[in-house]
């Protein structure tokens, strides 16, 4: 092997162990989901003795996993889109409109949030959600998710908006656009890559959220996927086969969506943040 070839292979050799560490746990889940319990304990590494889908049958019977998936998706997307819309308007107002004092106050108000882990608001939030009649409805999660998403989204968007040169807006004004027109026709299209970034950021957060989803929804059918998975772990106790099957069921659709859209998702994550 020539020196040049070795040099080309070097990065791959370094990356290989890391990739293995990333992939192995997922591979293990798929393997284990096709084994029975004894097999998992006695031979966790090997391939399943026979290709059995019994665990999947067990996990699917008496469970509403389709429901949970739909719930997670509905809550995640609704909250994320609302966050984006509300944050966009606020970021525009704060960075591009000339109310310096007011804007500083608004920005300061939002900054407070960076300092507070949402978990610490759990207890009063519960009472609030209940008082507003949202307990045990998807709204109980959508509104907190929106409000927890707004600050960071505003910061990322504001950072980007600041970098847009004034001339573009001036051109818009020349063309006779109103404030709303400038936002809709000029700023929004420019911001699109950043919007995708924050969409993904927020969506992943909402999709993963466990603590509030566990507390604010009581009806079994309203549960979101993360809550369902922990409930599965309890339900199947030591039945690792059924448990890993349940996990597999919950992650496979996400992985498929990701595999199809990976280019967009990854570009979305990266496009805006480089500037931010």
């Amino acid at each position: 092997m020539t020196f040049k070839k070795l040099k080309q292979a070097a990065p791959h050799l370094v990356l290989l162990p890391y990739i293995l560490i990333v992939l192995y746990p997922l591979w293990f889940v798929i393997l284990a989901s096709m084994k029975n319990n004894t097999e998992i304990f006695n031979d966790p590494w090997g391939l399943p003795a026979a290709l059995s889908l019994q665990n999947y049958r067990d996990a699917l019977t008496n469970s509403y996993i389709g429901h949970y998936f739909a719930n997670s998706l509905f809550i995640g997307v609704t909250a994320t889109l609302s966050t984006l819309f509300l944050s966009m308007t606020i970021a525009y107002a704060v960075t591009r409109m000339r109310f310096p004092v007011l804007s500083k106050a608004v920005y300061g108000l939002l900054l407070i949030s960076l300092l507070i882990p949402p978990a610490s608001l759990l207890i009063p939030l519960y009472t609030l959600v209940k008082d507003l009649g949202m307990y045990n409805t998807p709204m109980a999660l959508i509104f907190p998710y929106i409000s927890f998403g707004i600050p960071l989204t505003v910061f990322v968007l504001a950072a980007f908006l600041k970098s847009i040169p004034n001339e573009l807006e001036e051109a818009g004004v020349m063309d006779g656009l109103s404030t709303f027109g400038i936002l809709g026709r000029i700023i929004m299209p420019l911001t699109q890559p950043t919007l995708v970034t924050v969409f993904i950021l927020n969506f992943i957060n909402n999709w993963n959220e466990f603590v509030m989803a566990n507390l604010f929804l009581s009806n079994e059918k309203l549960r979101t996927l993360p809550v369902a998975i922990v409930a599965f772990a309890d339900k199947f106790n030591m039945n690792y086969g059924a448990m890993t099957a349940a996990i597999a069921i919950s992650i496979i659709p996400v992985i498929i969506i990701f595999a199809i859209l990976q280019k967009q998702i990854i570009e979305g994550v990266t496009a805006g943040s480089v500037k931010g």
């Binding site: 966790p44 949402p118 610490s120 004004v173 109103s178 922990v230 931010g276």
Partner: protein
């Protein structure tokens, strides 16, 4: 000619001003979002402050007790354990995770082939829910049949075997690693994008000056992607202060509270011990502490930027 241009210019400055000082538009843009934010973020925060001054079991009426909950925290050893763990969490993120992220990103960026494959795989863990990840990694760390111990046996490192989540020395570290496993890929993708966004001419100019390999990375790439590294740092610091679900799912703070962080300790005080007053006091302390950390971060950020410019 000249007066005409001036007049035109002043017209448009006023017009531009009108557009940018459209009071109603401002209100429409700001108020709805702020309303939700204030109701679901600041109001609970305010309530949390109130409750932190009370003795309250979560059911009966709260009784005002002044600052005694805060005094309790100061003399509570278990609280300090969780406080220290938060610090470890932050230090781990800043000094181990972020450098690792930058290192891997630079290596990936130097790979000529499989670039998309790497991006795809490293990103995978962060689309999974923490709940699934917690459950999967519990199995990996499990003492008898756990993959990690099995692996150590297989490669002849029997003596390294541990009860990973049951041993004070390793429980919290194990959680940190799992958390790292989940989030590293996300940041790698961020940093990678920044690396690829560096204009080619700048790198080529650097190479002409004799900067290659790690020298190039250190002298050129890293300074150029400094902003994104700062974003990564800030996100991992606030992430470290927010962590709660991974702890609840993996160890519930055990064994004997050694893997507790402030947020999980708060959760325990509220929901296991019924001491909602104390729990809210801890919530307030977490907020204050995060505030201090962020300020320190900002200070360092500004200082180092000045130095590098």
């Amino acid at each position: 000619m000249a007066p005409y241009i001036l007049a035109r210019e002043s017209w448009w400055i006023t017009h531009m001003k009108n557009i940018q000082r459209n009071y109603w538009a401002y209100v429409i843009f700001v108020v709805p979002a702020l309303l939700i934010y204030v109701t679901f973020y600041l109001y609970p925060l305010f309530q949390s402050l109130q409750y932190s001054l009370t003795k309250w079991n979560g059911i009966n009426d709260p009784v005002f007790v002044g600052l005694s909950n805060f005094a309790k925290a100061i003399s509570d050893e278990q609280f300090w354990v969780s406080f220290k763990n938060n610090i470890y969490f932050v230090l781990f993120s800043v000094f181990i995770q972020v450098p690792f992220i930058v290192f891997i990103s630079i290596i990936v960026s130097s790979a000529k082939r499989f670039l998309n494959f790497y991006k795809l795989t490293v990103f995978l863990p962060c689309i999974l829910s923490t709940a699934s990840i917690g459950v999967i990694w519990q199995f990996i760390y499990s003492p008898d049949a756990g993959l990690l111990n099995q692996l150590l046996t297989a490669v002849g490192l029997e003596s390294w075997k541990r009860i990973w989540l049951g041993d004070e020395a390793t429980a919290f570290l194990s959680i940190l690693l799992t958390n790292g496993w989940q989030w590293t890929g996300f940041y790698i993708v961020l940093v990678l994008a920044a690396i690829f966004a560096i204009p080619k001419e700048m790198l080529e100019a650097g190479e002409m000056d004799g900067a290659t390999g790690w020298r190039k990375a250190w002298l050129l790439t890293i300074p150029l992607i400094r902003p994104v590294i700062m974003v990564t740092l800030l996100l991992s610091i606030t992430g470290a202060m927010k962590a709660l679900d991974i702890i609840l799912i993996m160890t519930k703070g055990g064994p004997f509270g050694s893997s507790e962080v402030m947020a999980s300790y708060m959760y325990k005080q509220a929901y296991t011990i019924n001491d909602f007053g104390y729990a809210n006091a801890i919530a307030v302390i977490v907020s204050l502490f995060t505030a201090v950390l962020s300020l320190i971060f900002q200070y360092i950020n500004v200082k180092t930027r000045e130095a590098s410019e």
